[in-house]
Structures are given as structure tokens and as C-alpha cells.
Amino acid sequence: MEKGVLIWFTGVAASGKTTVGRALEKAMKDRGLKIENLDADEIRANLSPDLGYTPRDRDMNTKRLAYMGKVLARNGVSAIVAAVSPLRQYRDRARGMVDNFVEVYVKCPIDVCRQRDPKGLYKRADRGEINDIAGLHQPYEEPDKPEVVLDTDKEDVETCVNKLLLTMETLGYIPKSDVKGGKTYSDEEEEKVKERLRGLGYIE
């Protein structure tokens, strides 16, 4: 049985972890790959309602997520974890628990995250209601050597997902897709390339 991959998204709140994670989940399912999305908010609600956002609670939460990822991966199911996981030690611990680990740094300037703010966290912080946001009140340690960096302020979701899939192909964690060459071009682009190849004498 092929081993699953633990795909660990890290980044500050509203950087795009959940959005890209969901799109990746769909893309992997479309390819017939076994994948479970361990969305941190959902897991917190169901398995860890006891945990808050103190460093100690974050430590325990990421430990639980990594353990679930490990159990799934050894049974051939890949897992997506989307969690702020602000400290390197949380991520490195997860990395050490599986063979196939992909650390995804979801990188987005805090000002852009503030504008997005889908859960209203930054607004609440501005009003002084919360003071435990990583990257704002608590430290956020950028990954040293992530397998993938997603610049979500510049790259759209499709680009991000493509990057992730191709990286996992490069790493040999998932099979290369069976797309034939032509489909990567629009009709207009394909004609342009064919015209060039004709001009260069490669095809007629």
C-alpha cells in the first residue's frame, strides 16, 4: 500500500489555509486519491472543545492533528491539516511523525489578512476583545524550509493547488497526472506553439 501524505498548511489567520486546503482536497479527490481534510476549526469543535489558543493549547491541538495525520497516512490516506501552528517545533514534530510530509507556508502580508478577516478576528482584536492572535499578539515563526510557499496575495487558488500537486508529484508522493500535452494550452496558444514548431522545422 502506498503511504499517504501529511500536508500541513501553516500561516497566520486569514492567510488562506482553509480555502486552499479545501480546493486541494477536491483536486486530490478528482484524481482518485484518498484524502481527508482535518480542518483545524472542525477538529477543535468536535475533538478538542477543551482547547483554546494559549501556547499550551496550541501545542496540544497541533499534537492531536499530527497524530491523526500519522494514523491516516500509514493507512494510505493523505491528510490535510490547516492550522496556524505558529511555532516551528509544532511543525517539526508533525514532520517527524510521518514519512511523506509537505509543509506549506501560506504566506500573506498581515495587512491583506486584516482586510480579508473572514472570521472577524482582526476586528475583534482591534476592539480589544481578543489578544491571542499569532503574528499579532503571539509570535509566528516563519518556516525555514517549507516544501511549498504559497503567496496568496499574488497567486489565485488554482495556481496554489497546481503548485501543491506538482510538488507532490516531484517528491514522488503522488503519481504524475495523465494530462496530455495539448490540454495545457488554450486553442490559440496551441496554434501559436505549433506554428513555431513548424517554422523551426520540427513538425510540418
Binding site: E155, G172, E189, V193, L200, Y202, I203, E204
Partner: protein, 464 residues
């Protein structure tokens, strides 16, 4: 931890051993130094010796049959007309940069054919002329497009006006393209890739565009023409740029200069489909209009009465219309081998326009592609006149021989041997190697870097 050694690969598409090693080595001081102090030799290319599949065979150490690609254009599963372009998405075997990335070493690629669309690597990738243009995402990561712009201005993927009679303009374009490529290679040295590979296409382009001006045996050669030295001077320019580049490379880096295949003069073209019509293998529903040639797909082929058809290019591809395999197949599978052998004999007997033998070689794919995916391969691979003659697919020529191509002037064809040079600044060797194969390049690079060579690679590491 870094690799055992770093490697820089300078790819010169089409660079011919007869020119680089035999004719001009004394005028190429930097390349000469590498030859004198390194290991070197003529390197046998893929079958066929064409940019695609040769570079990908080089970086995967897998034969074209295993890769399932036989040219830039490939036939979809036994269909008559549907073709697809072989870009990076069709390469399923791990490339050098996949393997080196996985080992945690960094890679940098510039202009390696068939790398578009770009794939993630542990480093960067500037792709090739399969990108529609530089407005497409032709790099990984995508944002290095801005760095390219800052370093060299508008980057040139390839010559846009290749088939032109305006040779001054073509020459200027080739030089500009090459200058920008080397400028970019120098600029991106700052990224410190452990494995750095780039391919300059200008060599191939100048051969095809200018061979007849240089080669006194070419049927179109005119003595005293103004481009007589164009190819040689361009080689000297490349040599200077290599010299400049090597000054910037540290002592830990092993340097390789390779070409995917060589080149030689073009004698002419054999119009393969016109020949098949003449021999009764290919039937049209109606006679083609006189004085004009048409593409096969526009010629109204009577498939129910056609036994074989062909594709043009620097080599010929022949397909047999087999019952039960092709949609309108007519050749009974039990007659397949008979028809094929009959075609081999007839193809090998084709002469030049004066009735002189040309030495055509015909190859059966299963004999040269061990472990291959042959469902997309041609039924026969044809080297007309041992590649001195190209193949033309259009229908309606006056004769089976042509001396002008449909798309404009081209004076060179491909040769089966390219160049191989490997140089270690820390070790003097000066040894010519025999029997180098294109499949040896990837294992040699991996073993130089201290990376285990995968068992299924078809070549062997060459020792410095």
C-alpha cells in the same frame, strides 16, 4: 548538507562534433581547455536524434519508447489526425531535477527543451520555446519573471522569424537571444544552484539557417558569400561567453558541455506521402489540385483503401493502417509484418533525383526501444539517406524529391552524434572516451553529486 560536487551543464542544442572537435577546436580556446583537461567524445543521441525526445532522454536516462515520445508532435492512440504536443506534462519518468530536488539539493534550469509548463523544483526553472510567449507563466516560481526582466529586459524564448531569407535579421536575432541567455545564466548564478543546467538553442538555429553558406559540399553553396564564416564566428562568440561564465564558477563545480545531437548538410527532402501514393499504399478520394501541395489531413485520404501513410520532419515516420487497430484499418494483422518488411525494402531502395543510392536506413521501433510504450510509436522510423534527406508529409509535389521546404529555407539536418565534454577544475585528465551514449549523462551527473543512480536508468556513470 550540500552535494559531493556541484554540476554546471552547458547545453548547446545540435552542436556538431565535426565542427567543435574536428574543425575549429583551436579557435575555441575555452572549450579547448575543457577538452584538453577533461574527458570528452562524440555522444550517440537518441533514435531519432531530435531535440524532442533527446533532451528528455538525456535527463531521465530513458529511451524515447519508454518515455512514449517520438517528436514534438505525437499521434494520439492510433488515430489518423489527432496529435498532441509533447511538453513537460507528458514526462512521467523522474528527471534529474526531480531526483536532485528530492535529495534536498538546489537546482536551476534555463531553457531546457520540454520543460514548459514549469513544474516545481527545489530552486528555479525558466522554461523553453514550448511556452506560447513570455506573457505565459513560463517560470517557476512565477515571480522570477520580474527578475528576468530586470536582468535582461525582454527575454527571448526562441527565434520568431526563423524561416526567413533576411539572413542579417536572423543572425542578429540569434545573437540577441544567445546574449540574453548567457546574461541571464550569469545573473542567476547568484541563486547558487547545486545543479545548474541551461540549453542554448542558437546553435541549432544558426546551423539550419546558415549551413549552406559554410559547407562547400552543400548543393546550394556559393563561393565567397558574405555568411561564409557566420557559423564559425558564432561558435567563437559562444566560446567567449563560456569563458566568461567559467570565471564566475567556483572550484567545487564540475562543468559539462553537451549537445543533444549533431548536424550535417541537408541534401533535400523525400516527399513520403507522394512516394506512398506512387507505390500504391496511399489513396486519395480525388486528385490534388496541380501546382500546390496540401497537408495530409486536408488531402482527402481514402482511408478504406490506404495501407500506409507518413509524417514529415528531420526523420520520417510511417504508419500502417491496420485492421482492428486503426478506425478504418485495411491491413490484416497477419499481413502486418509482410507489408512492413516490403515497405522497408522499398524505402531503402529510394534513390536521389539522379537515380543514385542514398543509403536510407529503416528502423523497427521494437528493436530499439527496450521496455517501450509503443502504441504511439510509428510502425517504421525512416532515416532517408541516413538523415541527409529530411521527410516531407505534404501531398502534391511534382516529384518525390524536393529541394525547398514548404515553410522556407533550411539547409541542415540532424546527425546521430552530439558532443560530450566534462571538466573538473580540480583534476586534469585529457582523455577521449569512446561509445558515450546520451543515457550516460544523467547517471554521470548524479554520481558526481554523490546521489545514488536509480537502477532503471539506462546509462552508466562516466568517470572523470
Amino acid at each position: 548538507m550540500g552535494p559531493k560536487r556541484k554540476v554546471l551543464v552547458i547545453g548547446l542544442d545540435c552542436a556538431a562534433p565535426a565542427l567543435v572537435f574536428d574543425s575549429w577546436l583551436n579557435d575555441l580556446p575555452n572549450i579547448k581547455r575543457l577538452v584538453q583537461d577533461g574527458i570528452w567524445g562524440r555522444m550517440f543521441s537518441t533514435i531519432p536524434p531530435i531535440t524532442c525526445p533527446a533532451w528528455m532522454s538525456m535527463v531521465t536516462s530513458k529511451n524515447p519508447g519508454k518515455l512514449g515520445i517520438f517528436g514534438f508532435r505525437n499521434r494520439s492512440h492510433y488515430s489518423y489526425e489527432e496529435v498532441w504536443i509533447a511538453n513537460s506534462t507528458v514526462i512521467k519518468e523522474p528527471t534529474l531535477w526531480d531526483i536532485i530536488s528530492r535529495e534536498g539539493h538546489s537546482v536551476g534550469l534555463i531553457g531546457v527543451p520540454q520543460t514548459y509548463p514549469p513544474r516545481p523544483v527545489n530552486g528555479f526553472m525558466v522554461t523553453d520555446f514550448l511556452a506560447p510567449d513570455t506573457s505565459a507563466d513560463y517560470t517557476y516560481p512565477s515571480y522570477i519573471k520580474d527578475e528576468i526582466k530586470a536582468a535582461v529586459g525582454d527575454y527571448i524564448l526562441d527565434c520568431d522569424e526563423f524561416r526567413t531569407e533576411d539572413k542579417d535579421a536572423l543572425l542578429a536575432e540569434i545573437y540577441e537571444m544567445t546574449k540574453k541567455r548567457f546574461d541571464l545564466v550569469e545573473a542567476f548564478l547568484a541563486k547558487k544552484p547545486d545543479f545548474y543546467m541551461f540549453v542554448e538553442m542558437g546553435v541549432d538555429r544558426i546551423y539550419h539557417g546558415f549551413w549552406k553558406y559554410m559547407d562547400k559540399t552543400h548543393r546550394k553553396y556559393v563561393a565567397g558569400n558574405k555568411y561564409e564564416k557566420a557559423i564559425k564566428e558564432y561558435h567563437q562568440y559562444i566560446d567567449r561567453r563560456i569563458g566568461d561564465l567559467l570565471k564566475l564558477v567556483d572550484e567545487d563545480t564540475v562543468v559539462m558541455i553537451v549537445s543533444d545531437h549533431g548536424a550535417k548538410k541537408m541534401e533535400g527532402a523525400i516527399n513520403i506521402n507522394d512516394w506512398l501514393i506512387q507505390e500504391g499504399y496511399l489513396k486519395l478520394k480525388h486528385e490534388p489540385a496541380p501546382g500546390k501541395t496540401v497537408k495530409l489531413e486536408k488531402a482527402g485520404v481514402d482511408w478504406e483503401n490506404t495501407k500506409a501513410w507518413g509524417l514529415g520532419g528531420y526523420y520520417g515516420r510511417l504508419f500502417i493502417n491496420v485492421k482492428g487497430r486503426e478506425a478504418k484499418g485495411v491491413v490484416d494483422p497477419k499481413d502486418y509484418e509482410k507489408v512492413r518488411s516490403e515497405l522497408v525494402a522499398k524505402l531503402e531502395a529510394i534513390t536521389d533525383e539522379k537515380g543514385k543510392a542514398i543509403g536510407t536506413r529503416v528502423i523497427k521501433p521494437e528493436e530499439v526501444y527496450p521496455g517501450g510504450k509503443l502504441d504511439q510509436a510509428p510502425d517504421l522510423i525512416i532515416y532517408f539517406g541516413n538523415l541527409y534527406w529530411r521527410s516531407t508529409g505534404n501531398i502534391g509535389h511534382d516529384s518525390i524529391h524536393s529541394f525547398e521546404t514548404e515553410v522556407g529555407p533550411d539547409d541542415a539536418v540532424h546527425d546521430e552524434y552530439g558532443i560530450f565534454i566534462m571538466w573538473d577544475p580540480k583534476a586534469k585528465r585529457g582523455k577521449e572516451l569512446k561509445n558515450i551514449k546520451i543515457y550516460d549523462v544523467a547517471p554521470t551527473i548524479l554520481s558526481t553529486m554523490g546521489i545514488k543512480v536509480p537502477d532503471d536508468m539506462e546509462g552508466k556513470p562516466l568517470q572523470l
